[in-house]
């Protein structure tokens, strides 16, 4: 139960194709309203920025209203407004930032322009309480695959490694396409893989000794994606049917194996006993299971929010905003820009 003296924060997220408005009090989630334009993008095989931006404009007011209704609050009750100001699609971010400024202006409340990635970390506080003093965060999505050292999420994060080419979620989308599965690929590959066996040994990027010297905590999924495409081509050329479920399971295993292996290595070498996993790919069932079993063997605690809080939403932005208010951090100015390439080290813009 939320104490009434904890900050009531409304968070807005429009960095990609989800219009999210979340409301939290302290670490308690009161509402998580999301409107998605994903179906409008499916036929293009990726998110179309102008389509996403138009959808954000149309969805914004109804989504704010829905969140307030669910939370049982009036807008004037809110103590602060938080919004994703980057990174993300510039035109999409701009709609959310302008809406957040309008609320801050009309309600005379502080505005926090926050980092999308830091929000993916902060959201776990809604589910599992305060973050430990130190943890490792692995953020895996359609745009990012990063290992971050987190001491105080309101002050900053230290990047340990990141993808050097495709993001993990992007690899899921591309492999889904060659397998004839719909966009977005993640959930479809996860489902297909349940009926398959791990029969093919696809490559693990940046995992041999030489690569590990320079890229110990970095990822690469481009070679894996190509290897899957080649394997399918060879199969088709020989006139044999493509075992979709087995390919999906084997590809998914290669991604999850390298993600969890590097996350464990990063945690142990930094004396960290908690790994937080966030981003859309954290909804993948195999990643969750493999991370859990490997962490248990090593005495590491895994924190993963439920799938609905791993994908993009406004609650994660509100969760970070609430932490910023609680710690007395300085709000953003009204001329806050939307910054499509906001660095991961900047928590509040």
């Amino acid at each position: 139960m939320a104490a009434m003296n904890e900050p009531l924060v409304l968070g807005i997220e429009t960095s990609c194709d989800e219009t999210g408005v979340g409301i939290v009090r302290g670490h308690t989630l009161l509402a998580d309203a999301v409107a998605s334009s994903v179906e409008e993008h499916a036929r293009f095989g990726g998110v179309v920025p102008e389509v996403a931006s138009r959808a954000h404009l149309e969805a914004m007011v109804p989504t704010i209203q829905r969140a307030c209704d669910t939370a049982g609050i009036a807008l004037r009750d809110v103590d602060a407004i938080a919004v994703t100001s980057g990174p993300g699609l510039a035109g999409a971010l701009l709609v959310g930032v302008a809406a957040a400024k309008s609320l801050a202006l009309a309600l005379d409340k502080p505005l926090y322009g926050v980092n999308h990635l830091a929000s993916h970390v902060a959201v776990d506080q809604l589910e599992h309480g305060a973050l430990p003093d130190r943890c490792l965060a692995m953020l895996v999505s359609g745009g990012h695959s990063s290992l971050l050292l987190v001491d105080d999420i309101t002050l900053g994060v230290t990047p340990l490694g990141a993808t050097i080419d495709d993001a993990a979620g992007e690899a899921f989308d591309k492999v889904a396409r060659v397998l004839g599965l719909p966009f977005p690929g993640g959930p479809h590959i996860d489902r297909a893989a349940r009926d398959g066996q791990i029969t093919i040994d696809f490559p693990r990027g940046l995992s041999n000794r030489k690569d590990l010297e320079r890229h110990r905590f970095d990822f690469s999924f481009s070679g894996l994606k190509t290897a899957v495409a080649r394997w399918i081509e060879a199969r088709e050329a020989s006139g044999e049917p493509v075992p979709v479920a087995d390919v999906a399971a084997s590809f998914q295993e290669a991604v999850c194996d390298v993600l969890t292996r590097k996350a464990m290595d990063a945690a142990i070498s930094n004396n960290i006993d908690t790994i937080m996993i966030g981003g859309g790919v954290a909804a993948n069932s195999r990643l969750r299971a493999l991370a859990q079993s490997r962490a248990e063997e090593r005495g590491i605690t895994i924190r993963v929010p439920r799938p609905g809080l791993c994908t993009d939403n406004g609650a994660m932005v509100a969760a970070l905003g609430s932490e910023l208010v609680a710690r007395g951090r300085t709000p953003s100015a009204l001329d806050l820009p939307a910054d499509s390439s906001l660095p991961v080290t900047t928590v509040v813009a």
């Binding site: 138009r54 404009l57 709609v95 979620g169 859309g280 993009d312 100015a333």
Partner: protein, 213 residues
């Protein structure tokens, strides 16, 4: 108190009208910074007018046509302010705002057109009769296809003097005139829906630039 703003051209214009007169009006200094400039400018114009947010009883917004990104900043701001303040939001075609000022300032007598920059070597165009009533448009056209010796307001004649040789003021829409128009009841008031006039370019984002989930 009517708070009015337009973001359908390169600059942002904001005004406050108290029912009898425009109390304060300002235009942003740098082009294509709608997202950064609109909110601070609203705060500044309200302060200049000595008006608080709580006194605002209505919002007027230019609904374009205009470049999409800036247009959306104005519309989402108008809709969200309307929601948070619990006041109505009145949309007006941005070209009508330019037309109203052109007539009132005596810049035109008789028929005229308004043409604004639609980029991609095109203009947003509407034609008006001598009373200021819109008789055609708004539409998006190539300047050569819309060439006319009639007086032309907006930035179109500045950019395409061959097509619109008879340039008259104003070139930028004024939020003060937007407010006057809404209060006069002489203009078609629209829902705060953007006049895009173009379909979105259906090109998926480069994956590297999308945060995905």
């Amino acid at each position: 108190m009517l708070l009015a703003f337009d973001t359908a051209t390169a600059l942002v214009s904001v005004a406050v009208h108290d029912g009898s007169t425009v109390r304060a009006e300002a235009v942003s200094g740098a082009p294509m910074k709608h997202g950064e400039h609109l909110a601070p400018l609203i705060a500044a114009v309200l302060a200049d007018a000595g008006v608080t947010m709580a006194e605002v009883t209505g919002i007027a917004v230019g609904v374009g046509p205009g470049p999409f990104t800036g247009l959306r900043v104005g519309l989402v701001t108008a809709r969200t302010l309307g929601l948070a303040l619990g006041v109505p939001v009145h949309g007006v075609c941005t070209l009508d705002v330019l037309a109203a000022e052109a007539i009132a300032s005596g810049a035109v007598v008789g028929e005229f057109v308004v043409a604004t920059d639609a980029r991609r070597k095109e203009v947003y165009l509407a034609a008006y009769d001598e009373t200021g009533a819109r008789v055609s448009g708004p539409e998006v056209v190539r300047p050569a296809a819309a060439a006319t010796p009639s007086p032309a307001a907006g930035e179109g004649p500045v950019l395409y003097p061959d097509a619109f040789p008879h340039a008259v003021g104003p070139t930028q829409p004024s939020a003060g005139w937007l407010a006057r128009l809404v209060l006069s009841g002489t203009v078609e008031v629209l829902d705060p829906e953007p006049l895009y006039l173009r379909r979105p370019d259906a090109v998926a984002a480069a994956p590297a630039s999308k945060p995905g989930a």
